[in-house]
Each structure stands twice: as structure tokens, then as C-alpha cells.
């Protein structure tokens, strides 16, 4: 019989919250970066491409550590936020930021694939019919890359659910505050007698991942049919 302690429930709820927040805050940036990389010619495009994709190959722990340096009390951003009375480190927001950074390349890649598949002539048509760049982005490019956006969001969401390395460094492993499912499993697995509880949470992780995949397929198929 699978049973959950209140701390487990908190971890599940927190995981979902962190993954949703990470996905939502990344989406506008993901669309913007994918747009820049697909449609705009500018100097330093390769550099931007590299930076965006770096988290894909970099160990998440490294990302976590760099974020800690950036967001910590003496970091560039951390000191500014500190002056405004905001502390990010060791909060669930830090976990969301860590997840967002780690999942960002997956999001951008998917959206970019969607945008690259759009016939350039449709964009020319839109511009010559009186739509400016922003209008074209909103009324033509984004609707036509909806599949990529949905796919990317689902990947990002799933990646956030599984985020461990970066999260444990910037957010710590505080039950009820920053302890997500992977961190809770880690704690159960490293304490004696925690096997059953760890396994229960593993099932939750599997169920959530499957749900995301099914949702992704469903929406992808629906959008595909419309084309």
C-alpha cells in the first residue's frame, strides 16, 4: 500500500509549483530567443546560440553553483535584490529559476524547430499586407509554431520535475520550502528505512511524466491535424 506523509504531499505540490512557474517564466524568453535565432540577423548570434545551449551539456551542479554566485548575497543580481529586501537563495523561487535555466535550451530548441518550419513567404505575405514585425510574430509566427511551443513547454515542464543538481545548490533541500520530489527521494534513499517512501515518490514521478507525455502527444496531434 502506497502512503504519503504530509512532507511528501508538500514535495509533490512544490514540484508541480516549481515546474509550472519555471515553464511560465521561460515561455516569453524562450519565444523571444527562438525568434531572434530564427529570423533576425545580428552579430554575436553564434555566441547567443552557444550560451542558450550550454545548460544542455553543462553539469546541472555547475549551473547551480554559477546561479549561487549570481544570486547570492554578494552576487551581481543577489546584491541588487538584497538592497530591495528580496532574498532568492534557498526559496522555492530559486528552485524555479534553477529549473528554468536548465530546461531553457530544450524549450528554445523545440520552438525554434517550429519556427524554422514556417514558410518565409507567409511572413513576407503578412508584412506586405501591413503587419509590422511584432504583429507578424503574434498573428502568424506564434500560432504557426504552436506545436513547437507546446512540445517545448512539455519538455521544459518534465525537465523541471526532474531537476536535482542545480536546485539542491541554489535552493537547498528544506522540507516544505524547497524540497521537490527528486530531493525528497534523495533524502529517503540516503536514510535507513526510507526505501518504501522513496519508491512511492518514484511512482508519482513516473505518473507525472507519463501524464505530461500523453498531454503533449494529444495537443501535438490536435495542432497537427489543424494544419
Amino acid at each position: 500500500m502506497i502512503s504519503f506523509t504530509p512532507a511528501d504531499i508538500d514535495a509533490i505540490r512544490l514540484s508541480a509549483k516549481v515546474a509550472v512557474a519555471a515553464t511560465i517564466i521561460s515561455l516569453p524568453f524562450g519565444c523571444a530567443v527562438a525568434y531572434l535565432l530564427t529570423f533576425v540577423k545580428f552579430r554575436g548570434k553564434i555566441v547567443l546560440d552557444g550560451i542558450v545551449n550550454l545548460p544542455l551539456t553543462l553539469p546541472p551542479v555547475v549551473i547551480g553553483y554559477l546561479l549561487l554566485l549570481l544570486l547570492g548575497k554578494r552576487g551581481w543580481i543577489g546584491s541588487l535584490l538584497g538592497a530591495a529586501g528580496i532574498r532568492v537563495i534557498f526559496t522555492w523561487e530559486a528552485a524555479a529559476i534553477a529549473s528554468a535555466v536548465v530546461g531553457f535550451p530544450l524549450l528554445v530548441r523545440s520552438i525554434r524547430i517550429g519556427m524554422e518550419a514556417i514558410d518565409e513567404r507567409l511572413i513576407h505575405a503578412s508584412r506586405t499586407l501591413g503587419a509590422n514585425r511584432l504583429d507578424t510574430l503574434v498573428t502568424v509566427i506564434l500560432p504557426l509554431s504552436a506545436r513547437g511551443i507546446v512540445a517545448g513547454s512539455a519538455l521544459m515542464f518534465a525537465r523541471s520535475l526532474g531537476e536535482f543538481g542545480a536546485t539542491i545548490i541554489v535552493a537547498g533541500n528544506i522540507p516544505g520550502v524547497t524540497q521537490t520530489i527528486p530531493l525528497a527521494i534523495y533524502e529517503y534513499a540516503s536514510s535507513p528505512g526510507g526505501e518504501r517512501a522513496a519508491l512511492a515518490l518514484c511512482f508519482v514521478a513516473i505518473a507525472l511524466s507519463l501524464a505530461v507525455l500523453v498531454f503533449h502527444e494529444y495537443l501535438g496531434g490536435k495542432l497537427g491535424r489543424r494544419k
Binding site: 514558410d119 513567404r121 507567409l122 513576407h124 505575405a125 503578412s126 508584412r127 506586405t128 499586407l129 501591413g130 503587419a131 509590422n132 504583429d135 498573428t139 502568424v140 500560432p143 504557426l144 489543424r226 494544419k227
Partner: protein, 351 residues
């Protein structure tokens, strides 16, 4: 409309250099593929910037490198119809049609949805998605969408090339119809002389990125009849048909033409090659060809080693082509009389 262009644009090996001024409302750009026609279209529409030069439309500067002007495409009011319809797949026919209209400032809106729907016969399609329309329907929607943007110039880049012959000649009346009905000046780009003659008056000819000639569409067709495999194509728009002993007789000028094609009862467009006309000096006693037309020679012109003849018969005009030796034997003189024989089966129906 007056279009004045002096631009240069290079990609790798290819360089486009265009320097021309065209006046008129039915302009043509003619050239083989790869000659730079589509590049010119993109430069005019603003979807591509030239490397250097100026573009003026009715005196308004759209691009000038020296004055650092480059009006973005959405403010040029130059709409496009492409080879493929390129309709927005996520919008209904109605919303495709209205895409440009909604973005046109109200003062410039003089063409309304209802009238375009009527001219292009789109009423039954309005609420459908665009993916389940036929090729011809899609292209009609694309034309409507461009026209409803209320442009001051319509660019048509090979708009008929993707359609089969039958559909092509069905679409042409729509294209001409909307442009005439709503008085929209256009630039028609094609590699087909027949399409050019049906659509445009003044034509510039592109070859390898350069303009090699400016002429009327008909002048161009006459010049090229020597090198073309089919000679000069005489075009006939015929109506008022009646059946005569298995053939179809159409009114043409003062007389009639007998054709094997038909009967349709409706107006039809037919072609006849200059090479399918046989000339006689005197009226032959009997002949198998069903059309024997008494003609006056309006003009004779040299095309390669052959002679082209413009003939006038009963109000209609024909261009025939004969060997130079034949011209001497027939004693062709301007103002002279000849008889032209054309088989009823030599006419081909275009649409």
C-alpha cells in the same frame, strides 16, 4: 502609376542591376527563371533590401541608400500574389481575406470584402479552412487577400505558374477583373509570353540580372517568334458560337472562324500558332482547311530567316510566318492581298 527603380543587389556570384522607369497601370517583368525577376519583386515589396540605389513609387521614396530611407514592407502598401497561394493555414478564408484589410488605415479602404467576394466568386468558401480548398480556389483567395489590403501597387510573382493550363486561363479573367474593377496598378512577373500578353502592356525584359529591353508584350512576342518553337501565338477571345456540321463556328471580326474545339456556348480563349497559317496568292479552287480568310498585309517584318506578316481580315488581326523564299513568290507587299488558310483543328482552347 510611375515606378522608378535604380538598384543593385548581389548574392555570391549573382548581381542584379536594374535601372528603369515605367509608367502605366499594367506593367510586366519578363525573363527566364534565375534572371532576377523574383529578386526585383522582393526589393520592391521591401522584404529584401538592395545593396545600393533608389526606388520611387509615384514620386515617393521607398528606398534610398544615400538618404538612408528604407520604408518597411508594412508601410509600402505594395501587396503580393505569389506563385503558391501562401494562405495563412491557421485562419479561415474570411480571416485570410481580411488580414490586410484590417491593417489598412480606414481612410485608405476603398475596396470592401463584399465586392471582392463577388468578383472572385468566394461567397461559398468564406467560412471554410484554407487547407481543403482546391488549387484554383486557394489562388483566388490569395488574390482577394492582396486586393483587400487596398494596395497602391499589386506585385504578382508568377501567380499562375503553379496552376495547370486549364486553371491558369480560368484565373486570368479574375486577375484582370479585380485589377480593372478596383483600378489597382500592377506589376506582373512571368516567364510565359502568352500570360504576359494577356496581362501586361509595358514590359521590361530581364536576363542574368540585367534589363535588356523595354517593349510592349506584343512587340516582344513578334521579336521572339523566330526563336520560339511555336512561333507567334495568335490569341482569340471568341464568343457567339453555333454548331455547323460537327464544327463550331465563332464570330470573329466581320466573319466567322470554324473550330473543331467546343462547343461551350460560353466565351473561350483560343490560340493559333503563326506556323499553322498557310498563305495563298489567289483564292484556291477547293481546300480542305475550313477557314479561308481574305486578308490585307498590314506589315511585313524579318524574323531570322523567315518573314513575319501582320494580316488584317474583316476587322480581325493575325500574325503569320512564312519562309523568306515564300514571301518572294507570293510577292508580299504592305497593302497587298493574300488568302490565309487555317485548319479548324489548328486552334487550341486555352480556357
Amino acid at each position: 502609376m510611375e515606378l522608378s527603380v535604380n538598384v543593385a543587389k548581389s548574392f555570391g556570384e549573382f548581381t542584379l542591376r536594374a535601372d528603369f522607369t515605367l509608367k502605366g497601370d499594367r506593367l510586366g517583368v519578363f525573363g527566364a527563371s534565375g534572371s532576377g525577376k523574383s529578386t526585383l519583386v522582393n526589393l520592391l515589396a521591401g522584404t529584401m533590401a538592395p545593396d545600393d540605389g533608389t526606388i520611387l513609387l509615384d514620386g515617393e521614396c521607398l528606398y534610398s541608400r544615400s538618404e538612408r530611407i528604407n520604408v518597411p514592407p508594412e508601410r509600402r502598401r505594395i501587396a503580393m500574389v505569389f506563385q503558391d497561394p501562401h494562405l495563412f493555414p491557421h485562419l479561415s478564408v474570411r480571416n485570410n481575406l481580411l488580414y490586410g484589410y484590417k491593417r489598412c488605415v480606414p481612410e485608405d479602404r476603398r475596396i470592401e470584402l463584399d465586392s471582392v467576394v463577388e468578383v472572385l466568386k468566394l461567397a461559398d468558401l468564406l467560412d471554410r479552412g484554407v487547407s481543403n480548398l482546391s488549387g484554383g480556389e486557394q489562388q483566388r483567395v490569395a488574390i482577394g487577400r492582396a486586393v483587400l489590403a487596398n494596395p497602391r501597387l499589386l506585385l504578382m510573382d508568377e501567380p499562375l505558374s503553379a496552376l495547370d493550363d486549364q486553371l491558369k486561363f480560368q484565373i486570368i479573367p479574375y486577375l484582370k477583373g479585380v485589377c480593372e474593377e478596383f483600378a489597382i496598378p500592377f506589376v506582373f512577373i512571368t516567364h510565359s509570353l502568352v500570360e504576359m500578353r494577356l496581362m501586361a502592356e509595358r514590359v521590361i525584359v530581364f536576363e542574368k540580372g540585367r534589363i535588356v529591353q523595354q517593349a510592349t508584350a506584343d512587340q516582344l512576342a513578334r521579336q521572339r517568334m523566330g526563336t520560339s518553337q511555336v512561333g507567334y501565338i495568335n490569341l482569340f477571345r471568341l464568343k457567339d458560337s453555333r454548331r455547323v456540321d460537327g464544327l463550331t463556328a465563332y464570330r470573329w471580326g466581320d466573319g466567322e472562324l470554324l473550330l473543331t474545339t467546343g462547343p461551350t456556348g460560353e466565351e473561350g480563349l483560343f490560340e493559333l500558332s503563326s506556323r499553322d497559317i498557310i498563305l495563298f496568292k489567289r483564292h484556291p479552287e477547293a481546300i480542305s482547311a475550313r477557314n479561308l480568310l481574305q486578308c490585307r498585309v498590314v506589315s511585313a517584318f524579318e524574323v531570322g530567316n523567315r518573314t513575319g506578316l501582320e494580316l488584317e481580315c474583316g476587322g480581325g488581326r493575325l500574325v503569320a510566318e512564312i519562309a523568306r523564299m515564300a514571301a518572294e513568290e507570293l510577292d508580299i507587299r504592305e497593302g497587298g492581298e493574300v488568302f490565309a488558310a487555317v485548319k479548324a483543328s489548328a486552334f487550341r482552347k486555352l480556357g
